[in-house]
């Protein structure tokens, strides 16, 4: 039975249809033209050949990487390892070039090959083992970073000038710069892909995976090859970067991750998958580079660049969702209704529930589910918790035994335990924050610079004075509450994906910390915090007493409060939670607030531990904060997990780190091991498949 007025189907006018189909690309180009005009107006000289060439040169790496990322995004995936692949290719090329001579195409193939291998690794885990792209690529990102550091410890080396000029020189001097050729080549390559069945299947899988499968498309193969192809793009971006910078730098990649996502979204590929394209990425990257140039022209410090990138990312995501059923408009309508509903509820003063309707007799005793004393019965409610927490404690026991054996007679258990627990305290606190967000179904990538900002602000304000700590501490915590609130509010009200929001927020916080400290943090941690982390109280480091209290608090918060209960409900199934009257928005915002506050606490503890704060001190905590949660049996995506398990994860990872730092293995190995542990635990703790 047909619904609504059908009438005669009209012959469609195709122009609006085509416009809509390419809306993303058109918007990307328009955005680029706008920023280009703005730059022209604010510059004294006009844009010459040299400017064109250098602008293209500096945007090509991001554009190429964003093209790869767009591919993954089109199949509804996400590749966080993109930037790490770029650094890995960079150092691999530079180191190999020191030893061997080879024609340039060999180096290009090597770079793309390295990318393809990592892409294949991601692809197998995502497409065939059906793990979540976020976890997989986060882990491979850290593994790549570890390998990168193994290949090259410090920036250095150089590449032959002929190699550089192949990519950043001119094809025809003063007419066609090489970067343009490279980008046009990439666009043509994409054009070829679009002409194949794979090109159609990409969009089919991203648009509706089940439908694609029902149509006989091998969805796993499509996803696998997408990750491989994306890896090739990342690899090529690494090759280009190497030619452009002319040297190796193991740390060049990570700061590119944010710009890559900005370029993807500005380029008109929505993160929801199934739509978009690769051409827009070039406009996206150009817009980004020109924006930085506008800042330069306007004499604004480069500290602001990550802030601008972060804000651009959020705006671009919002812009791309405007034509769809805008979450903002829905929220405004909701607010209007809410005001009216509150007025009416207040005016009524009473609700129906004052006269409860019972179809059961509340005085009737319950069929006794006997308060049995048997161990099995006591265990039953906790069975799941134990099943998923136990592995981390078992592994911990193994690591402790190995440590004791390795140290032999020099092993002093009480001293070891004390220092292990002190070091664990950072991750134990972070675990509650990251854990809450993950339980709610999100992810908080703003942890690193929230930690740093808190540390920098605290030491900068107190300048090592205990008295100042009295007002500085609440101030720092309030900043945390505010940031968490903003994170949560954007996720809830604007409906932007948590990864995007917190990635952008991390950029904003980075800018804020740099601006506040003017590049190099000053001051010292107040003595009280130094005492807390390094002193002694009743035979133990004082923080341990607080840690004990914190563990009790965290466990009860998640398991015995309405907030905790609702967190699980929201993470497990947001719709059913909403339909059960759970205030979903408030609960999600609460989770982000908890996370930011926990990060602040860690920032304060860290600066107390080392006596002062330094920029980037939080960077090492992102993966571990997620790792401990996952290792502790929590499900990424929400709904399952327990603080007891997360604590086990924190102890395990810290014990491993301690063991490694005592051995002669380089620090890089630690990142690789952490990444592998995360992967291993998502594989091992995966729920048995029911379908």
């Amino acid at each position: 039975m047909s619904v609504g007025a059908l009438g005669k189907p009209e012959r469609p006018t195709l122009l609006p249809l085509i416009l809509r189909r390419h809306q993303g690309l058109i918007m990307a180009a328009a955005f680029f033209l706008a920023i280009f005009t703005l730059l022209q107006l604010s510059m004294s000289s006009s844009f010459g050949y040299y400017d064109v060439s250098s602008t293209l040169g500096s945007c090509a790496t991001i554009a190429l990487a964003a093209m790869g990322q767009s591919l993954v995004v089109i199949v509804k995936g996400l590749d966080l390892s993109a930037a790490a692949v770029i650094s890995l290719v960079n150092v691999t090329l530079v180191v190999s070039m020191q030893h061997t001579q080879a024609p340039a195409f060999v180096w290009v193939l090597l770079g793309m090959g390295v990318g393809a291998i990592i892409g294949a690794f991601n692809g197998v885990l995502v497409a065939y083992m059906r793990l979540q792209p976020i976890v997989v690529t986060l882990a491979s990102m850290f593994i790549c970073q570890g390998v990168t550091l193994l290949v090259m410890k410090e920036p250095g080396g150089s590449v032959p000038p002929e190699f550089s000029s192949m990519f950043v020189g001119d094809l025809i001097p003063n007419l066609v710069p090489m970067p343009l050729v490279v980008l046009v080549g990439a666009v043509l390559f994409w054009g070829l892909i679009r002409q194949t069945r794979f090109g159609t299947n990409l969009f089919a899988v991203g648009g509706d995976e089940e439908a694609a499968r029902a149509n006989g498309i091998n969805t796993s193969a499509v996803k696998f090859f997408t990750y491989v192809l994306a890896g090739v793009f990342f690899g090529f971006a690494g090759v280009f970067l190497t030619a452009q910078t002319g040297s190796g730098d193991p740390l060049i990649g990570p700061p590119l991750l944010l710009p890559i996502f900005v370029a993807v979204v500005l380029g008109g590929t929505p993160l929801s998958g199934g739509k978009g394209g690769l051409v827009g990425c070039i406009f996206g990257a150009l817009t980004l580079i020109l924006t930085t140039n506008v800042l330069l022209v306007m004499n604004i410090s480069t500290y602001y660049s990550t802030i601008v990138e972060g804000i651009l990312l959020i705006l671009a995501v919002l812009g791309s969702s405007i034509s769809q059923q805008s979450p903002l408009r829905r929220q405004l309508r909701f607010l209007r209704d809410r005001v009216r509903s509150r007025e009416i509820l207040r005016a009524r003063g009473a609700s129906l529930n004052r006269r409860p309707l019972r179809v059961y007799d509340p005085s009737q005793p319950i069929i006794p589910i006997a308060k049995s004393t048997s161990f099995r019965d006591w265990l039953r409610p906790h069975e799941e918790t134990l099943r998923f927490s136990a592995p981390s404690y078992l592994a911990l026991a193994v690591v402790l035994i190995v440590t004791a054996t390795a140290f032999g007679s020099r092993f002093e258990f009480s001293a070891y335990l004390n220092s292990l627990l002190v070091l664990t305290s950072f991750l134990a606190v972070l675990a509650l924050g990251q854990g809450s967000v993950i339980l709610s179904g999100g992810l908080d990538l703003s942890v690193p610079w929230m930690i740093t900002l808190a540390g920098v602000v605290l030491t900068g304000l107190t300048l090592g004075s205990n008295e100042a700590a009295f007002w500085a501490l609440p101030l720092v915590i309030s900043i945390g509450v505010l940031i968490g609130f903003v994170n949560g509010a954007i996720v809830v009200v604007l409906g932007v994906s948590p990864i995007v929001v917190t990635l952008a927020m991390n950029g904003v916080l980075q800018g804020a910390a740099l601006i506040f400290s003017n590049g190099s943090p000053i001051g010292f941690s107040p003595p009280i915090f130094r005492w807390l982390m390094t002193g002694a109280l009743a035979g133990l480091t004082p923080i341990l007493w607080f840690l004990a209290a914190f563990v009790v608090f965290a466990t009860l918060l998640l398991s015995r409060t309405t907030f905790g209960r609702r967190l699980y409900a929201v993470g497990s199934n947001q719709t059913s939670a909403r339909y059960a009257g759970v205030p979903v928005g408030a609960t999600v915002i609460g989770a982000y607030v908890v996370s930011s506050v926990c990060s602040c606490l860690v920032g304060i503890m860290l600066s107390g531990f080392s006596g002062q704060a330094f920029n980037g001190m939080g960077d090492a905590f992102l993966l571990p904060s997620i790792a401990v949660v996952v290792v502790g049996g929590t499900l990424i995506g929400g709904g399952r997990g327990h603080y007891f398990g997360m604590l086990g994860g924190a102890l395990l990872l810290t014990a491993i780190a301690t063991l490694l730092s005592a051995s002669l293995l380089p620090d890089a190995v630690r990142q690789m091991i952490f990444g592998s542990i995360v992967l291993a635990s998502v594989v091992l703790l995966k729920e048995r498949r029911t379908s």
Binding site: A212, L345, Y360, P381
Partner: protein
């Protein structure tokens, strides 16, 4: 006659839900074979097994004597199986033309898509499937539901399959389109296809199918030649007993008081574009039915009443006072409860245990300053679970471990615990076994007897006719009629639901 499809002892479990329980039947070559059964009887699971989307736990299927490899859509296609799915399986953001060709667009040089050949092929399909009213360059998402369904069907037929599976192909089609389908089926048969046709509508079975098989609870009940069985026999085979006994009797002393003030009053409520106008009142002790074909605005009405969507016009009054419901939380607060359409995605958090699901709406009552009194929580949940006859292990076991019927009872327990006076039930018996259905009906009676008001939508017209005090029938977004007493028979409801009561449009003749 040679056998085209032989299904042998197929079994499939989803967690605790048994979708197929050793079903076996055979389909003759060249037949149009109807597959009938209640919702949840296993029809769609069979289609998905044959299409390679679902891998059964045991059993096997032979197509023309050859074993069908399970779990591979491509293997199924290679054996000539082609399916028009109930949940339409086209890609919304691709054009109609590309969807028609997916995933086998014509190639040039073995790699690149041949655009010219593609266009020709699409034009051919459109010509031969009589789809001239659809432009191939439109995006699939721009089509309305009947056109989408026609594309789904046409695409399956255009592949010239040996086996054609049509899973409820008429659910969105009206009279003219059903005629179109008849021509398609003829066309396909003429080119040698064997067809399995799934539907709920007996007239269509009589029109299209020569034989029919009935499934119940995942088992095969019987296969008959269509002209040897009466509708009543088929119906009782489908439900497994004579129809009347499925519905408990309600004591006449508990019938709603005719002049009691309305508990829920809805006035000119609209949620554009689907729901245009709904006005009705439900009194205490009343079970108020809502009938109509799917997608006529029922869902929007329920959503507006529970604060999920905001109405574009109209008023809602609860207990005589106007309310504005900005969210389900508001609805729960003023005393409304909703058993939603999809219990697995809307009704329950399957990963969580029963206790955490059931206590969710009343957490505020069970806690002080955010601290949950867990002893009281356990006691109250245990008591209400016992009331709806769910085992107490549901307290600590994830809801995914329970069958559909038990899950629905946990949903009901959740709302009974809120002690609200108004219960909104959206198709609560879908995919629920017969025994549990009866338990749910009894609970509905008891809720109404205690003074509650129930708004009850069901896709099963018989339930409406047997359980409700009054039935409002919705047609094209408006309440076309509110039927009372004798009028509210299956026949009366269906007549208005099909629009034959008020309009002259010819749908199809309902079963006599």
């Amino acid at each position: 006659m040679p056998i085209a499809i032989a299904v042998d002892r197929l079994t499939k479990n989803y967690g605790a839900t048994r979708a197929l329980d050793g079903a076996s039947f055979e389909v003759n070559k060249g037949d149009v074979h109807a597959l009938l059964g209640e919702n949840g009887a296993g029809k769609s699971t069979i289609v998905k097994v044959l299409s390679g989307l679902v891998r059964p736990d045991s059993g096997d299927v032979r197509i023309d004597g050859r074993i069908l490899p399970f779990g591979s859509p491509r293997a199924s296609r290679a054996l000539g199986i082609s399916t028009a799915f109930q949940e339409i399986s086209q890609i919304p953001d691709l054009t109609v033309g590309r969807n028609l060709l997916l995933p086998e667009e014509p190639l040039r040089a073995g790699i690149f898509i041949d655009r010219a050949a593609s266009r020709r092929r699409v034009a051919e399909i459109i010509e031969e499937q009589e789809l001239q009213d659809i432009h191939p360059e439109l995006d699939f998402r721009d089509l309305d539901l009947p056109l989408r369904q026609k594309i789904e069907i046409a695409k399956a037929i255009a592949r010239k399959p040996a086996i054609l599976l049509l899973d409820e192909p008429t659910s969105a089609l009206s009279g003219k389109d059903v005629d179109w389908l008849e021509r398609r089926i003829e066309q396909s048969r003429a080119s040698g296809a064997t067809i399995i046709f799934i539907t709920h509508r007996m007239p269509e079975v009589r029109r299209f199918c020569s034989r029919l098989s009935i499934l119940r609870g995942g088992q095969h009940v019987g296969t008959f030649a269509t002209d040897t069985v009466s509708d009543d026999d088929v119906m009782s085979s489908i439900v497994g007993r004579s129809i009347g006994s499925a519905y408990p009797h309600r004591a006449p002393t508990h019938l709603p008081l005719p002049d009691a003030p309305a508990l829920l009053a809805v006035e000119r409520l609209a949620v554009s574009p689907r729901l245009l106008e709904a006005t009705f009142q439900i009194r205490p002790r009343e079970i108020f039915g809502l009938g109509g074909l799917q997608g006529m605005g029922q869902l929007e009405l329920f959503h507006a009443l529970f604060g999920i969507e905001s109405p574009t016009a109209g008023n809602i009054a609860v207990d005589g006072r106007p309310v504005v419901l900005a969210s389900p939380r508001d609805a729960v607060r003023v005393g409304l409860s909703l058993v939603p359409e999809e219990r697995k995605t809307e009704g329950l958090a399957l990963k969580l245990c029963g206790k955490h699901n059931v206590s969710l709406p009343v957490l505020d009552r069970l806690s002080r300053f955010g601290w949950i009194n867990s002893g009281r929580e356990r006691d109250e949940v245990a008591r209400i679970l016992a009331r709806v006859q769910v085992q107490s292990r549901a307290l600590f076991t994830p809801c995914s471990a329970f069958s559909g019927g038990n899950q629905q009872k946990i949903v009901l327990a959740k709302w009974l615990l809120t002690e609200s006076r108004i219960l909104l039930l959206f198709d609560p018996t879908r995919g629920v076994d017969v025994g549990t259905k009866r338990e749910i009906f009894l609970l509905m009676h008891e809720f109404a007897d205690a003074g509650g008001a129930i708004l009850f939508y069901s896709t099963d017209t018989a339930e409406l006719a047997h359980l409700c005090d009054r039935v409002a029938v919705i047609y094209r977004g408006r309440i076309a009629s509110i039927l009372d007493g004798e009028e509210a028979s299956e026949d009366g409801i269906l007549r208005i639901a099909l629009g034959t009561g008020s309009r002259s449009e010819k749908a199809y003749e309902p079963a006599e």
